[in-house]
């Protein structure tokens, strides 16, 4: 297809058509750079390289078992881990802060609230009310913001209201109830700075505390606040993959995690006057093309956006391929995972980059910092800039579409609410299937996609196939979802790949064996499902036959999520270790001792079959303990 491919030594992808497409591209992508970055530093992999001061970098070898300051391998590892978890938590707290602010501002302006059911549930949980929906929304948003801004020495109020009581009790006993979420991040970065804390266990405990504030606020509450503003997920079928790109439209690829920032623009893009502008330059109108987690979130709530949203094209490491089709006219980004590598692709294809939150400012992007009061003006400026880009670039750019890529009928819109509704209004049918063994257990396959652990989505997809073949139902959230759906595991026909019992269940219900909860933020939704299942059965969360896997975890945010999973007492599988194995203490605490602290444990394995064996064994043990 392309006479001049950039270089065919791209990494493997579980998505074979995508792999072939990328290998033939005339420009460099992340997939091309995996090979040249193949030599990894062993000290870095084990987390025992420290450059916290001018004496460094110090590394651990038999001849140099301590850094110059005296830091041991345990100190180096746990300091690095705490730093990563604090940064990851900061990212999610930034997202929930902006989400709550947008809800607050919308409420003050008496703007549109699309999810009144979610608002009622939040009011009930928080114990707040108001004379009308806007006052209720204002009070809900304020309750979240007040907690986020508390100092570290004042505990947040909503934790007890949100948490499952048996878990809250464990957290209180362990002394890991978080103070103000932003202050916890601050404390975390102070603690792991040069020549401060050198107690590895103390720092690991802080990771758990950050896990709780990340999980309850950054994950769970972000979803629920989004539900109020953007509308709740509804189960339906949707297309995924590069097929969703329609070149007849002016296409905007969106990347990030902060969907509430797009609300105004999104509505303008379908307004008759704006559509007329698009038509004037030869397009049929505008379409948003989903990429990364914000795309997952739009897909999840797609029932509310059928006109503007054309579908989810792919995850973080599909973004360069989406752009390389040539049919994307602008990238609108507001958070990660907006890869730096898209800049060169955008340059090559004259794609306009606009960033609306400077935390994710790309070098080539024009910054239009989102300010609620100015969103009207900004939306018009953004629309004009994108139209100008379309007009300028389309005549000269050759399209390289892949219309057969992906799948047409993927089940989406799954949430803790919509799934329960689907099951008849309560969790009993699912509990019954678990008790009878028709569903052996539940695995949350969450988090990112990476280009290691076999390649793009390779371990994730292989693990999911292994799990469903063992009658373990898979619930997904994050970029992993984007990979799994592009590999065809979320169409009802994927039931054929499941074990006999799960297959029968899927066929009866007309569902795939993998249920997509959407963005990584929706890990919070999975955790509500876990809580409600535990509640229905009358047990604590660690007793559930439920495991988590962030098989291809990529970034610091995933580590903060993982700490929430551990605080909840869940077994957490990772394909590659999070730079901890240089420390015997960290490895021991995370993989073993955690079981007696919270009930959680980290399992590290990069082989799909072995990992599935380990997870299945845990599920079987939990089933035996429950005598089912």
């Amino acid at each position: 297809m392309n006479e001049s491919c950039y270089g065919c030594s791209t990494c493997a992808s579980a998505d074979k058509p995508l792999e072939g497409f990328i290998a033939k591209l005339p420009m460099e992508t992340s997939h091309h750079r995996v090979e040249s970055q193949e030599t990894k530093c062993g000290f870095g992999l084990q987390g025992v390289c420290c450059r916290l001061c001018a004496n460094g970098p110090c590394r651990i070898t038999p001849e140099s078992p301590r850094g110059i300051c005296g830091a041991t391998a345990d100190v180096m590892v746990t300091r690095n881990l705490l730093r990563a978890v604090a940064a990851g938590s900061g990212c999610y707290i930034h997202v929930v802060e902006n989400t709550a602010l947008n809800l607050k501002n919308t409420a003050l302006e008496k703007g549109k609230l699309k999810g009144l059911g979610a608002l009622e549930r939040l009011c009930k949980t928080f114990g707040v009310s108001g004379k009308d929906d806007h006052e209720k929304a204002l009070n809900v948003a304020n309750a979240v913001l007040e907690d986020l801004y508390k100092p570290e020495y004042v505990k947040m109020d909503l934790v007890e209201k949100m948490a499952y009581p048996p878990r809250f009790k464990v957290w209180k006993e362990l002394g890991i109830l978080p103070g103000g979420a932003k202050s916890e991040v601050f404390k975390g970065v102070v603690k792991c700075s040069t020549n401060l804390n050198s107690d590895p266990v103390n720092m690991l405990i802080d990771c758990l505390r950050l896990g709780i504030s990340t999980g309850i606020y950054g994950l769970t509450l972000t979803n629920l606040l989004n539900d109020v503003l953007l509308g709740e997920p509804e189960i339906r079928m949707a297309p995924v993959g590069l097929r969703v790109i329609d070149p007849d439209y002016i296409n905007i690829m969106i990347t990030g995690h902060q969907h509430t920032m797009f609300v105004h623009l999104q509505e303008r893009l379908i307004a008759p006057d704006v559509v007329a502008k698009a038509k004037a330059v030869g397009a049929k109108g505008f379409k948003l093309v989903g990429c990364t987690c914000v795309g997952q979130d739009l897909q999840l709530r797609g029932a509310h956006y059928t006109e503007i949203f054309n579908g989810h094209a792919g995850n973080n490491y599909t973004s360069e391929a989406i752009l390389a089709t040539g049919a994307i006219d602008a990238v609108l980004s507001e958070f990660n995972c907006t890869l730096p590598g898209i800049e060169t692709v955008c340059d090559t294809l004259s794609i306009k980059q606009i960033c609306i939150d400077d935390v994710a400012k790309k070098a080539n992007a024009e910054l239009k910092q989102f300010v609620f009061a100015e969103r009207g003006k900004h939306s018009e400026e953004i629309i004009d800039a994108i139209i100008a880009s379309y007009k300028e670039r389309r005549p000269k750019v050759k399209l390289n579409l892949l219309p057969e890529h992906g799948y047409e009928n993927n089940l989406t819109g799954v949430s803790e609410v919509s799934l329960k509704k689907f099951l008849g209004g309560n969790w009993k049918p699912l509990v019954d299937l678990i008790v009878s063994g028709d569903i052996k257990g539940v695995a949350g396959v969450v988090g990112c996609s990476s280009l290691v652990a076999g390649g793009h989505d390779v371990l994730t997809v292989a693990l999911v196939k292994e799990l469903i073949a063992r009658d373990i139902i898979v619930l997904t959230a994050g970029c992993s979802s984007g990979g799994i759906e592009n590999c065809g595991l979320m169409v009802p026909e994927a039931a054929e790949l499941a074990g006999p019992k799960l297959k029968a269940v899927c066929k009866k219900l007309g569902i795939p064996p993998v249920l997509n909860f959407g963005p990584c933020l929706a890990i919070g939704r999975l955790e509500i499902v876990a809580t409600e299942l535990a509640e229905t059965i009358g047990i604590d969360i660690p007793q559930l036959p439920l495991v988590l896997s962030a098989a291809q975890w990529l970034e610091e945010q995933a580590l903060a999520d993982g700490c929430f999973g551990l605080a909840l007492g869940l077994p957490l599988h990772l394909g590659l270790p999070p730079f901890i194995t240089g420390s015997k203490v960290a490895t021991q605490v995370l993989t073993e001792d955690m079981k007696s602290l919270t009930g959680g444990q980290v399992i590290i394995n990069a082989d799909a079959k072995e990992s599935a064996d380990l997870l299945e064994k845990i599920i079987q043990e939990k089933r035996r303990a429950l005598k089912i």
């Binding site: 030599t39 992999l45 084990q46 590394r59 651990i60 070898t61 078992p65 240089g582």
Partner: protein, 150 residues
Amino acid sequence: MKRIIIDQEKCDGCKNCTVACMQAHRATPGTVYDLDLLDPKNEARHTIVANGKGGYFPIFCRHCSVPDCVGACMSGALCKDPVSGHVQYDESRCGTCFMCVMSCPYGNVKPDKVTHKRILKCDFCKDDTEGPNCVRVCPKKAIHVEEVSA
């Protein structure tokens, strides 16, 4: 014979070679993630020394044409392999006199710090069909294997 050739200008002291050598000679198999970096049994067979001017001397066994270590070894534990030309060590014959440690002009023989009974020296990764592990991982190409006359 094959020899490791060093281009010291290129070395940036990353010690990737060191980790690779430890990994190649560890007692129990495993991944680089679970290699015990603190265990003296895993010590690398070479050394990377700072030259004091911001650069490094990578010091690797030369498997010398006339090896002083072999010459010093009374018990015959060190021998120049007639086929490969590499200087190999037979622990069962070693008398622990450490004469080899004293006589290598480059400091390439290390006494084993755990048992104090044997020595550690480069075996040219003889058990590995792909050749020296250190060379394979050097990101700077500061070391490479070359065919030279014995």
